[in-house]
Amino acid sequence: MIRFALPLVVFVLMVGLLGYGLRLDPKKVPSPLIDKPAPAFSLAMLDAPSRQLSTADLSGQVWVLNVWASWCVSCRAEHEVITALARRNLVSVIGLNYKDEPDDATRWLGQFGNPYTASVIDRDGRVGIDWGVYGVPETFVIGADGMIKYKHIGPVTHESLEQKILPMLKELMS
């Protein structure tokens, strides 16, 4: 009996394992930065390049960092969701304009609307590297304690906004 049952059990286990593997998205690499201090930056602002915005300016409040670029196609799809988040006026939504031409970025915001409290220019992508950015768009939630609480890789959808990001913001602000 065991002679026939054993291959069957092994087969079922393999199917289960491979089936589970199929549901994972290999593009979503868990960030080691969760629950670590947000990497500091001080960058020129897109609409006022002579002024700098730094992470220190945001300390003590819950905020969202959205990494975007005018060359990024899925940022366009995400744009309305970020706008919906900004309209709620819950938190500051800071845009990190990643490896972009400031002129193109300004035009992009003019065309689609500017949801950001402020956008800062990360032209050579060094701040992006510090934040472990590898696929724009990416969205981070930073707590009042300055820790990164959540990272969303790829475009934020209305679903992930409602189910993940908003509840997390409310919890952090309560």
């Binding site: 290999p26 593009k27 690499v29 868990p30 960030s31 080691p32 930065l33 490896k99 050579d124 992508g125 060094r126 590297i129 510090d130 934040w131 472990g132 590898y134 696929g135």
Partner: protein, 152 residues
């Protein structure tokens, strides 16, 4: 004609290999060797099955630049690896570190080999063991063999 064809084939093969590598100037040969080893062993997160050396993605280029600059500043290979792991996680390493979460990864193949060896040895031992036969059955078999001997 044949020679020309060969040249074209070699050209096609070599061209993409060199396309993604910037010409960095190093202070020493060891530093250059360190750099080459690092970009071989660090993964590009955009095109996940390529290393930094083989990828032409923008991020790979930036990370090569970062690697180069860190080495030029006198940082060690380990410091570069730590820098990458702090930002991108263990996934950037093509050669994972040996630690509690990767024990199974490193030891797994050897454990599996030992298990298979154990099964093989067990089977061989079983084959070597003389088969016990009932004395009566043996005598009967002998009798049958003798009876079936071809008659002269």
């Amino acid at each position: 004609m044949k020679r020309l064809l060969l040249l074209v084939i070699v050209g096609l093969w070599v061209a993409p290999m060199q396309a993604s590598i910037e010409a960095y100037q190093f202070d020493s040969a060891e530093m250059e060797a360190d750099y080459k080893q690092l970009i071989e062993e660090l993964r590009c997160l955009v095109c996940q099955n390529q290393n930094l050396a083989g990828s032409d993605a923008d991020l790979a280029r930036d990370l090569r630049r970062e690697t180069y600059e860190m080495l030029q500043q006198g940082k060690s290979q380990q410091q570069v690896v730590d820098f990458m792991v702090a930002r991108y996680g263990d996934f950037v390493l093509y050669r994972p570190q040996f630690k509690s979460s990767t024990y199974l990864l490193w030891m797994g193949p050897f454990l599996l080999l030992m298990f298979v060896l154990y099964l093989v040895v067990r089977r061989l031992r079983a084959a070597e063991k003389p088969v016990e036969v009932d004395a009566g059955a043996m005598a009967e078999a002998k009798q049958l063999l003798e009876d079936s001997e071809p008659r002269k």
